[in-house]
């Protein structure tokens, strides 16, 4: 006969035995905390201001669709931080989020300077991180969706120049590096020099754009004096704006300008240059490298653009939005693979993430899909080359599988 005493004893024993399992179940269901370090202010703020709404929209969507299923439907909770576009502050915020906010992993715009600064902190605290934009990885804990300096930026630019010359009949013999003189610009240029040299292009001088300059007329005069067939390099939006202004003022059309990304492909150029100047310089002898174009012939990309525009009502839908949205999906896949919030398991799961071409979750144009190489950057670093139309729209030229137009002939 079960007395009240034996029942109470049995119940408390069962409760004591079940407690760890209950705690585990609750822990599995507890929100997964993701620290998001964005450059919300400072020189790189444009990346996060465009990218974060798209990232948050996808995370909200993942939560609404049942969270991370392999972790009992755990929801994702974002903890935001601003690094003010400075590397050292990115490292400080990473330390705060990991030790004070107890986040499970980190992500954020994190361009190359932030990536370099945050790497020692990730190594010390052994925490996984996905950068949206870094062009390299200096920590085994850090993965990046950014373009590799060589196989991303330099290879795409050099291949495009070769394609113009060999396949499209452009008379291109000489070239001039024209790049923003900062960390990524210098790195890309180092690789570009080798690739263009190997392809038989002859260098004629160099135009390194001073990133603090208020005017790029001096650089444009240097280009005009050397008159290369093509000026090529990585140019930031601000330097691109000043470069195009100088080109308009000097009325120079003797060279082809190609490169990217933001300095040639950013929609803000039309607003900042004014439509008349933009029309005069952006639609003439200029080809822009970009990771995203609304004109690209990629169904999954077109679908998410429509969703951002019609459902999420996002105001800015450019490559930062697409790249950030892609980061959210990569994180979701990594968490699903890991099935735990253990930091080492999540880190190892990133290496196993694969989003194939044709998958509905592939938002960026990667012909071979998304997969991380041994250097923790994407195996496919390719990007588009586009040309601007007078109505501010773009036509995709390269690679040919995504193209919807032919390159405009060179004009003088």
């Amino acid at each position: 006969m079960i007395t009240r005493r034996t029942f109470a004893l049995g119940a408390s024993t069962a409760a004591a035995l079940a407690a760890p399992a209950v705690r585990r179940a609750r822990a599995d269901n507890a929100p997964i905390r993701i620290g998001v370090i964005n450059s919300m202010s400072g020189g790189y703020a444009a990346y996060a201001q465009e990218g974060h709404p798209a990232f948050k929209y996808i995370i909200d969507k993942i939560n609404a669709e049942g969270g991370v299923k392999s972790m009992g439907g755990a929801k994702i909770e974002l903890v935001l931080a601003d690094d003010t576009s400075q590397g050292a502050r990115c490292a400080t915020e990473a330390r705060r989020l990991l030790t004070e906010e107890k986040v499970d992993l980190l992500t954020g715009t994190m361009l190359s300077p932030q990536m370099l600064a945050v790497s020692p902190v990730l190594d010390e605290l052994q925490a996984p991180c996905l950068s949206v934009w870094a062009g390299g990885s200096r920590s085994p804990w850090l993965y990046s969706l950014g373009y590799d300096y060589d196989r991303g930026y330099a290879k795409t630019m050099a291949d495009f120049a070769i394609w113009l010359r060999d396949k499209k009949g452009f008379a291109l013999k000489t070239w001039m590096p024209c790049y923003s003189n900062y960390e990524a610009g210098q790195q890309v240029n180092t690789h570009l020099l080798k690739r263009m040299g190997d392809a038989g292009f002859q260098p004629v001088g160099e135009a390194a754009l001073d990133t603090k300059a208020q005017d790029q007329t001096a650089a444009m005069i240097r280009i005009r004096a050397a008159k290369p067939d093509i000026a090529l390099g990585l140019v930031t939006p601000r330097d691109g704006l000043l470069l195009h202004q100088a080109r308009y003022n000097l009325n120079y059309h003797g060279s082809i300008f190609a490169g990217g990304t933001g300095g040639y492909s950013d929609l803000s150029l039309w607003r900042d240059l004014s439509p008349d100047i933009a029309k005069a310089v952006l639609t003439r002898n200029l080809f822009a490298m970009t990771g995203f174009s609304p004109a690209a012939n990629v169904p999954s990309m077109q679908k998410i653009i429509a969703e951002f525009r019609d459902v999420a009502k996002l105001k800015l839908i450019g490559q930062s939005a697409m790249q950030s949205a892609q980061a959210a999906r990569v994180i979701q896949r990594a968490l699903e693979i890991a099935g735990t919030r253990d930091k080492k398991a999540v880190k190892e799961a990133f290496a196993k993430v694969e989003i194939k071409f044709g998958d509905a979750d592939l938002y960026v144009a990667k012909p071979t899909g998304i997969k991380f190489a041994d250097d923790r950057l994407l195996t496919d670093g390719s990007a588009f080359f586009v040309q601007w139309m007078e109505d501010k729209s773009q036509q995709v030229l390269y690679p040919e599988q995504f193209a919807n137009a032919q390159p405009r002939p060179r004009s003088s």
Binding site: T84, E93, R96, A117, Y182
Partner: protein, 327 residues
């Protein structure tokens, strides 16, 4: 040396403060220890700058050049040539001293006014940043990565957060001691006379070149050593942080808010403003970007309005007034 120097050293207060600070690594969590370490970096830099800017009245905007010299040169010598970083620190401190002496000579030779001196030193700082970010030896714009800190003291490694904290604490104490010693020595009198009236000082026989050069050299050497320890702590030497003229502006802001020309003032300014900036950004940066700048700016303006001479002189004056009332 005036007896006041030894009297202040015999006082138990600084030793108690030092002892309390030294146990902080055992008390503070990781993030707050980091904030404390960064604060010590700024306190040391503001104190070192105070020798030139506060005591001698020479508004130098070139101190980022000295920080960069200590951080970038010693790191580059280690990474490129494998030179022991202790030796690298000696080399970079000597280089900073030489550059400081050269700037002082230019100042003396051309009889630069305060504004011209500030502009010339700013030009040096700008040139340094352009040179470092364009030179492969210093890692260009990418900066340099230092080998992992394994705690080998003989390789200028301090064993991570705690060790770096103690190293910076010692360096801050050294900078404060240097200020105290200078203020209580003939050099301190000469520098203050130069600050108050350069022509009158020269007329009574104060050597402008000798004393200005000495002040700048001491300040440059201390700044370079702080830069090297900071670089070792961060493990990544970022030219845009360590050679940026913005760093000098921050140092001057801390020194001014704390109280120029005093021993404690510049360090106090750093202790008030550096953690405030970090904590405000931590709390508001993610959710309300830019608000932390606004609050920080408003607090700085309020402090300057309430005590234009700085926080420390205001505290000293209030304490003295209370003492007089009691008497």
């Amino acid at each position: 040396m005036r007896p006041e120097f030894f009297a202040q050293l015999r006082s138990p207060v600084p030793w108690i403060v030092l002892a309390v600070a030294a146990v902080m690594p055992f008390v503070l969590p990781n993030y707050y220890l980091h904030i404390f370490t960064i604060t010590l970096v700024y306190a040391a830099l503001a104190s070192a700058w105070n020798i030139v800017g506060g005591i001698a009245g020479q508004i130098s905007l070139a101190h980022s050049l000295f920080v960069g010299c200590g951080a970038m040169l010693s790191s580059a010598l280690l990474v490129r040539y494998g030179l022991n970083m202790w030796l690298g620190v000696i080399v970079s401190a000597a280089a900073a001293a030489a550059i400081g002496a050269m700037i002082s000579f230019i100042d003396f030779r051309f009889r630069l006014g305060h504004l011209s001196f500030a502009l010339i030193t700013m030009a040096f700082a700008e040139m340094a940043e352009i040179y470092v970010t364009g030179t492969e030896f210093f890692g260009g714009a990418s900066g340099l990565f230092l080998p992992k800190d394994t705690g080998d003291f003989f390789a200028f490694q301090f064993g991570g957060g705690r060790g770096a904290f103690w190293a910076m604490l010692a360096m801050t104490a050294l900078c404060l001691l240097a200020n105290l010693a200078i203020l209580n020595s003939p050099l301190g009198y000469y520098l203050r006379s130069i600050r108050d009236n350069e022509n009158a000082a020269q007329a009574i026989g104060v050597g402008l070149l000798r004393n200005k050069t000495l002040a700048m050299t001491i300040s440059a050497v201390l700044t370079a050593i702080v830069g090297a320890i900071y670089a070792r702590y961060l493990a990544f030497v970022d030219p845009y942080l360590l050679v940026s003229p913005t760093l000098t502006v921050e140092i001057i802001l801390f020194a001014t808010v704390g109280g120029l020309g005093s021993v404690i003032g510049p360090a106090l300014g750093a202790f008030l403003l550096a953690p405030l900036g970090e904590i405000l950004r931590g709390h508001f940066g993610g959710s309300l970007p830019g608000l932390h700048y606004f609050i920080y700016g408003a607090i700085v303006v309020a402090v300057i309005l309430v005590s234009p001479a700085g926080v420390w002189p205001a505290i000293v004056s209030r304490l003295a007034k209370r003492g007089r009332q009691k008497a």
